[in-house]
């Protein structure tokens, strides 16, 4: 890809309390992990009238922006007109859709709350994140199945490379709601994730001007019909040995992460680069055969990136 390189400068997690210690996967502080009093953090100011996916996402976005040094208290200090939001979620608004249908059947439309309107559209989360921090750049919602998180990172990188944005807040969020639980039970996908993860992607030049550390550079990405083809294409000619971050490691620990999976993998990779002589990590999603396509994303140490 031509255009400016894109690096990761911030990471934020809102994980379920049940996952316990995750320091083997994420080398982040307690605040970035959002592990303290999570449910309290999903209530209160700025959280009213928003669905669970949005509240989880807002929490993660705040941690990531703070980690990237782009917040002064609650105020965004970066370039608002040149900051994009890219959200990946597949199951985020199913609770709104299904509960509204039930209410209409029971009480007619007069039983609906007008405040539910934003959540009928699948892009509500990205809208709330933009509103919270005044982010007026491109606002994109990726609903692209299991690979959506990796795809969202690719599109964040593309927005930077095309010079549409200097900064992109990438969020993966999937809530555990009644319809999600029923759907996953029916298709035998295991428990829902019920969490969010955010990553700040930034042009390497912009990060350098701000004097912040780049945790890693988005160095390669591919979608393909199967996993081995995706891996080959994402690595390209990069000769570095990679540590694999496969999907199963995360779904075993966190449940069916769905659209949040790729962002989780990237966040984990970004915090581990440079540790234990790890120069590059490769996040992979997909199988040898299946209805869904496979994807792979290469994240490398950022030293020397212009």
């Amino acid at each position: 890809m031509s255009g400016p390189a894109a690096v990761i400068t911030g990471v934020g997690l809102t994980l379920p309390d049940s996952v316990g210690d995750v320091t083997d996967l994420f080398d982040v502080s307690a605040s970035e992990r959002g592990l303290f009093d999570r449910e309290a953090g999903l209530r209160g100011r700025g959280m009213r009238h928003k669905d669970r996916a949005s509240r989880l996402a807002l929490r993660a976005a705040r941690s990531a922006l703070g980690d990237a040094g782009l917040l002064d208290a609650e105020t965004f200090t970066g370039p608002a007109e040149r900051t994009a939001v890219v959200v990946s979620s597949n199951l985020g608004n199913l609770d709104s859709v299904c509960s509204f249908v039930d209410i209409i059947a029971r009480e007619t439309v007069t039983g609906l709350s007008p405040l539910g309107l934003p959540h009928t559209s699948s892009n509500a989360v990205a809208g709330w994140v933009a509103i919270q921090y005044g982010l007026r750049g491109p606002n994109v919602t990726v609903c692209n199945g299991s690979t959506g998180g990796l795809d969202a990172l690719f599109w964040a990188r593309t927005l930077v490379a095309a010079r549409r944005s200097d900064v992109a807040v990438v969020v993966g969020t999937e809530p555990d709601t009644e319809p999600v639980a029923r759907l996953l039970r029916q298709q035998d996908s295991g428990p829902a994730f019920d969490g969010a993860v955010a990553v700040v992607v930034e042009s390497a030049e912009h990060a350098r001007h701000r004097g912040v550390r780049a945790r890693g550079v988005l160095a390669g990405y591919a979608r393909a019909r199967d996993l081995s083809a995706a891996i080959t294409a994402a690595r390209g000619l990069d000769p570095r040995p990679v540590q694999l971050l496969d999907a199963e490691t995360f779904t075993t620990r966190f449940g069916y992460c769905c659209g949040a999976l790729g962002v989780l993998q990237c966040a984990a990779g970004a915090t581990r680069l440079g540790r234990d002589d790890i120069d590059a990590v490769l996040a992979t999603i997909g199988t040898a055969a299946g209805a869904e396509a496979a994807a792979a994303l290469l994240l490398a140490r950022a030293e020397g990136v212009a």
């Binding site: 890809m1 007109e81 859709v97 249908v101 007069t110 709350s113 559209s121 982010l135 007026r136 692209n144």
Partner: protein
Amino acid sequence: MSWDITGLGALASIGSGPEEIFTALCDGQEGLDTLRAFDLSRYRAHHAYEIDDRAQPGRDEPFRATRWLRAAIDQALRDAGLDGGPSQYPMLVGTTLREQRSVELWWRDGVPLDSADLYFGPALRAWFGTPWTYTFANACAATLYTLGMAGDLIDLGLADTVVVAGTDAITESAFGTLDRVQNDTPDALRPFDNGRRGMLMGEGAVAAVLQRRGTGSVPARARVRAVSMNCDASHPTAPTALTISWAIRDAHRRAGLGPADIDVVMLHGSGTQLNDVAEATALSGVFADADAAPLMTAIKSMTGHTLGGSGLLSLVMAVLSLRHGVVPPIVGLTDPISQAEGFRLVRDRPAHADLRTAQVNAFGFGGINAVAVLERAS
């Protein structure tokens, strides 16, 4: 930077192909009818611009949005001479509601559903062979966003050919919540008219093949000069005139054109109180100094609001306007809103003019705005 449009496809309530829809628009033909599959006793609004294709009248069925998407992309690939054999082109699909209608039928009636049915990738891969697909839920600006992102893929050297498409079927949850919040109950969508009573949804799918300049196997139908995209970041559903005006100016700047260079504007024109005032306010600011005011039209007066696909449907109709030198009228416009004073809104009958450039507006929930600028293929 500009990109060739080499193939077009579209389905809507008023036609099953781009030329058929364009002819219907020029004839002032509306797709308005009574709701076909929802229980009328549950709603105040009883009208929509649906595609009448259910196997059993009155009985809804899942995956209509997916079915139309395939048909629209098929048309566009054929038009571009790219049909036959599996394609490896990236396909970028914009939508507001994805397959949420199928979710509703699953939740309430037990129709089978898998999480992989929620997006369009598996279906596109099964039909067209490409694993390189994306579903973007970018509300009603979705397909102009995808058009811009497709252009970025070409500019960055990642592809020479990209398929851009959109689709939406009406859901009970979205139709019902809109019905709940609108103060009035519209029986038709009347953009930019003082008598407008709100938005009504339409159904449709649309597709376009975008190619690096000069690489297509057929002549370009038109050229995309630029696409801008931004976000109001102020309200989840109400639009902001100022940020809309920024998106319009940014599109002009990217296209290397000034307001006076725009010959026709395809309005977002959703017929809500707030949209039409905000859009007119933004346009009057941008075009205040233009020597020649552009013609303006709003196809939602005949197709209803086709949601995620509506921006690209307007763009496909703009391609045909440029080709034929004809702009369809805004049906039902008798008393234009005061904010549109001085606008050359096309009324009563089609306008004939030598058109070189078109601007297309699309705005959506979440405050997201996208504006495209087109030029006629020489």
